[in-house]
Symmetry: C2
Subunit: 221 residues, 2 copies
């Protein structure tokens, strides 16, 4: 059975998945880049961008598994780009260049309809204005027997968590304080009771946590 | 030079230092007791309550140091008791019985004046209605050359953090989701920039984090 997963999502010690004031110059918000240094230092990241070097170990183990068994991705509209409100004429095609690192169908949650954008390398962005459950159905259909990843941002993950729709989530807690920004965990109850920590390991850089939905049979899909 | 410290303060994975609906029956809020299981399991805790057993190791190392070098404690009024608003006639004397585990002067932040309460074993509760800095001055004076501990709760620690008055803070991140409750870290900027993580170690139960103010000379006291 296909699962809905979150992988390698970094939060600060004070719970933020991105810094404040996200815009085209600061896609991760002020200070948000610090949250991803543990990824940038891995060998898998170097390989992804066609560079040499990078370290092996626990962080690399997690990051190298990012796409394993994944057949589709869901993301929020604010992760797709810096444009807020109705789409403008800038023909924004995502942060990732002409060959984005997804290589499968990507479902972007938005309140504003937009035609699909077909990129190189097998990535197509579909814009879903029918709510999180409709986007999830489309993503599961696209993924076939593979899993679906929620890429982010914080608000999108939170919506799926509140609906108890995420099966398993891997977080990296980064020991920095951002002070403000996009909070991941907020007002989850009662879905908080449905999740249990199934793994917690410290690398030299971060604390990796995996949580999983405990009673998946209780929850209709 | 005396320091202002936080020790053994537990927060959930979603950032709460206590669960929701704190009252006389649930002093730590619904689900909040889970945050302190790592303490209850230690040998030091058993010794504190006059019991046998309990485990040694990292958690015990931290908890056994709770009062080391401490000469005074500050706490919020909501940590002292369940009464909100003006004091009533119940003659509440704290959660801790006639011989509280402080054995020194305790300064309780409140907006409502109250005469001091002298307990057994050297603990006296003083009620401070002049703001956090006045309470801090009184506590430093009482502590002499020893340190001052901020006991909690979340709102009190947050006020001192926002004012960059805390020198060092030890947190235990407990891998549970409470869903809602009393959030510790919220809107800290710009004081967030003044703190650095100086230690992070995982016990089997929790992740211990110590943060310290990086530029104490910049901050007038």
């Amino acid at each position: 059975m296909s699962r809905l997963l979150v992988r390698n999502y970094s939060i600060s010690l004070d719970g933020y998945g991105a810094g404040p004031h996200q815009d085209v110059d600061n896609p991760l918000g002020i200070g948000g880049m610090q949250l991803h240094q543990w990824i940038f230092a891995t060998r898998s990241f170097s390989q992804m961008i066609g560079a040499e070097g990078g370290s092996e170990g626990l962080d690399d183990d997690f990051f190298s598994e990012r796409e394993s068994g994944v057949g589709a991705t869901i993301m929020g509209r604010n992760m797709f780009g810096p444009i807020r409100g109705p789409w403008d004429r800038s023909e924004w095609r995502g942060w990732w260049g002409e060959d984005p690192p997804f290589h499968h169908e990507v479902f972007v949650l938005t309140h504003h309809p937009h035609p699909p954008i077909e990129m190189e390398g097998g990535t197509t962005f579909y814009f879903m204005d029918g709510g999180i459950e409709a986007a999830l159905s489309a993503a599961f259909e696209a993924a076939g027997d593979r899993d679906v990843l929620v890429g982010g941002g914080a608000a999108t993950i939170r919506q799926y968590l509140r609906a108890s729709l995420i099966d398993e989530m891997h977080l990296a807690i980064v020991p920095v304080l951002l002070g403000s920004g996009e909070r991941l965990f907020d007002d989850l109850s009662p879905s908080a009771n449905k999740y249990r920590c199934i793994e917690r390991v410290c690398s030299p850089a971060v604390t990796h946590i995996r949580i999983a939905r405990a009673l998946r049979d209780d929850i209709p899909r």
